[in-house]
């Protein structure tokens, strides 16, 4: 039934740190790999080696430039996948009951054998989290790796979504956002985790941690123009550690000078 549950026992979801994401797209690749080989229809590609390649992905990384009123612009890498919303508009519009939100953990899933591929759920999602698979004709979306997180055949360390497990910069965190004492909830509280498009009223479970100010970029030494007018932001980091040699090297330096 595509009615949403009143409450869910847990609110499993992701916390994505926009401060640490380096935009390497490793999570995109591991997501595509795991979800092509496991639960549901594979994530197909169309014309993958041709002139106009496209394909189904459940996780995509945008990059934005943010220009404050004062100071240097920031480049922010922005991973985006299903936010497993509490008021998921994609679920209630589904005419067949294929889309549903689980009571036990709040994960939003698609029962692919019931999906008629009408696409209305993707229309209702403001985040672009759902993509119709062109080969299979059914809607694909992030499952929060439901076939990993409870999978007792995997070592315990691997029982997290593939994107979280693979992230080399630790920018993705997985846990129960309904439990105020969980690590992810503490992280959200400490760093001021935010919702995307709160005005859409979807109440996303996934939270985003805002990037910290890049104060180093605006230090006077960094922004002082060089003679050619260029600004070298790396200059302060490349300055010599010591101008004058000391200790044994200092003695050696002087001794060699005298020769």
């Amino acid at each position: 039934m595509t009615s949403l549950p009143e409450t869910t026992q847990r609110k499993m979801g992701l916390v994505i740190d926009l401060d640490t994401c380096v935009g390497c797209h490793a999570c995109v690749v591991s997501c595509k790999g795991w979800n092509t080989e496991n639960y549901g229809a594979p994530l197909s590609d169309q014309d993958p080696y041709g002139a106009d390649p496209s394909g189904t992905f459940l996780n995509r990384i945008h990059s934005y430039e943010v220009q404050p009123d004062q100071g240097a612009a920031q480049l922010i890498h922005f991973p985006k996948s299903c936010l497993h919303c509490e008021d998921a508009p994609c679920v209630t519009v589904c005419p067949t009951g294929a889309s549903y939100k689980r009571v036990e953990d709040g994960i939003v899933l698609v029962n692919e054998t019931d999906c008629i591929g009408c696409g209305l759920c993707a229309w209702a999602c403001p985040y672009g989290a759902r993509e119709m698979d062109a080969a299979e004709g059914v809607m694909k979306k992030c499952t929060l790796c439901v076939d990993r997180i409870y999978n007792e055949n995997l070592p315990e360390v691997d029982r997290v979504p593939a994107c979280v497990r693979t992230c080399p910069s630790g920018a993705r965190h997985f846990g129960d956002l309904g439990d105020p004492d969980s690590d992810v909830s503490k992280l959200v509280a400490e760093r001021g985790g935010m919702d995307l498009m709160p005005e859409q009223g979807t109440k996303p479970v996934n939270k985003y941690l805002p990037p910290r100010p890049k104060d180093q970029m605006d230090r006077p030494a960094a922004t002082a123009p060089k003679p050619d007018g260029q600004i070298d932001v790396l200059a302060p980091f490349l300055k010599p550690v010591a101008e004058e040699p000391k200790g044994f090297i200092g003695w050696l330096d002087k001794a060699l000078e005298k020769l």
Binding site: S54, H62, Y64, K80, V93, D114, G137, Q200
Partner: protein, 290 residues
């Protein structure tokens, strides 16, 4: 939004078909026998033809029967029920008129009501979507109902009703366009709220997640043809609303009536193309495409 031909054909034809059924249900015109058969055949061809066209864009049309299950939450499911109920009731009503020369008025009134409910449900599939601010308004069902009932009057030969309703529909159409043009800006959703980065500064899409095309861009970020939007609005107004009124005011003739219906259909098709092509889905903000 991508203006898929199947959805344009579906909403245009079935809207007109159910509009005609509405008038037939009211007994206007009060036809029986073979004349009634001809009227109902046209209405069913339009309504059912439109509904069939809508299945062409499904990934799995063979499972379409499952769409009847979720009427409690889904307008698409409600539309399926309303359409079948309207067609069955009006079928029984037509049976009496065509073969028994009997007018079962109550059936006709119920069928007329269900025809309007069907058009309303279709409109609410679009009107409910917060993700498309241009559509999310009570004006959307008002527009689709006005077009359906006025087009139905035209097809049913209700000249007086058509002469009143077509200008009303044209006014609703213009109000809908004017409101829609600022709907995204006034919705409060922009790149700042989409990324949550608006508090830091001005957000610009620096690099897309993928170099090629994808489902989201094809389905939701249609921008081709918007430059002709104003011309097409003119064409829709002239063909869809003004031309039928002028043709109805001329001395009556079947050829003129046919011309009026053809002009109306062409105009409404143009209006419906714009309905989709001009609609901005908020997901485009993530791509900086607005």
């Amino acid at each position: 939004m991508h203006p898929a031909p199947s959805v344009i054909i579906f909403t245009t034809l079935s809207g007109l078909g159910f509009g005609l059924l509405f008038w037939l249900g009211l007994g206007m015109p009060a036809v029986t026998g073979w004349v009634a058969f001809a009227f109902f055949a046209i209405a069913y061809a339009l309504a059912v033809g439109g509904l069939l066209a809508s299945t062409f864009h499904l990934g799995h049309p063979e499972r379409a029967i499952k769409a009847f299950t979720q009427w409690r939450t889904s307008w698409l499911s409600r539309e399926a029920w309303a359409a079948v109920a309207a067609l069955v009731i009006m079928g029984l009503y037509a049976l009496g008129l065509v073969f028994f020369d009997a007018r079962w008025s109550v059936l006709g009134w119920i069928g007329a009501g269900l025809s309007l409910v069907t058009v309303y449900s279709t409109a609410m599939i679009y009107g409910q979507l917060k993700t498309v601010p241009r559509w999310q308004s009570p004006l959307t069902p008002a527009l689709l109902l006005a077009i359906s009932v006025s087009g139905g009057a035209l097809l049913a030969g209700q000249v007086t009703a058509a002469l009143i309703l077509l200008p009303i529909a044209a006014v609703v159409q213009v109000i809908w366009w004017v409101r829609g043009d600022t709907a995204l800006q006034t919705s409060g959703t922009d790149m700042g709220s989409a990324t949550g980065l608006g508090g830091i500064g001005r957000v610009r899409a620096f690099e897309a997640p993928h170099t090629g095309n994808n489902y989201l861009l094809k389905e939701f970020v249609h921008v081709v043809g918007r430059k002709h939007a104003l011309k097409l609005r003119g064409i829709a107004l002239v063909l869809g609303y003004a031309a039928p009124v002028v043709l109805l005011l001329l001395p009556f003739g079947h050829l003129l009536a046919l011309l009026a219906v053809a002009a109306h259909l062409a105009g409404i098709a143009a209006s419906r193309w714009l309905f989709f092509a001009e609609a901005e889905h908020v997901v485009g903000l993530y791509y900086g495409k607005r």
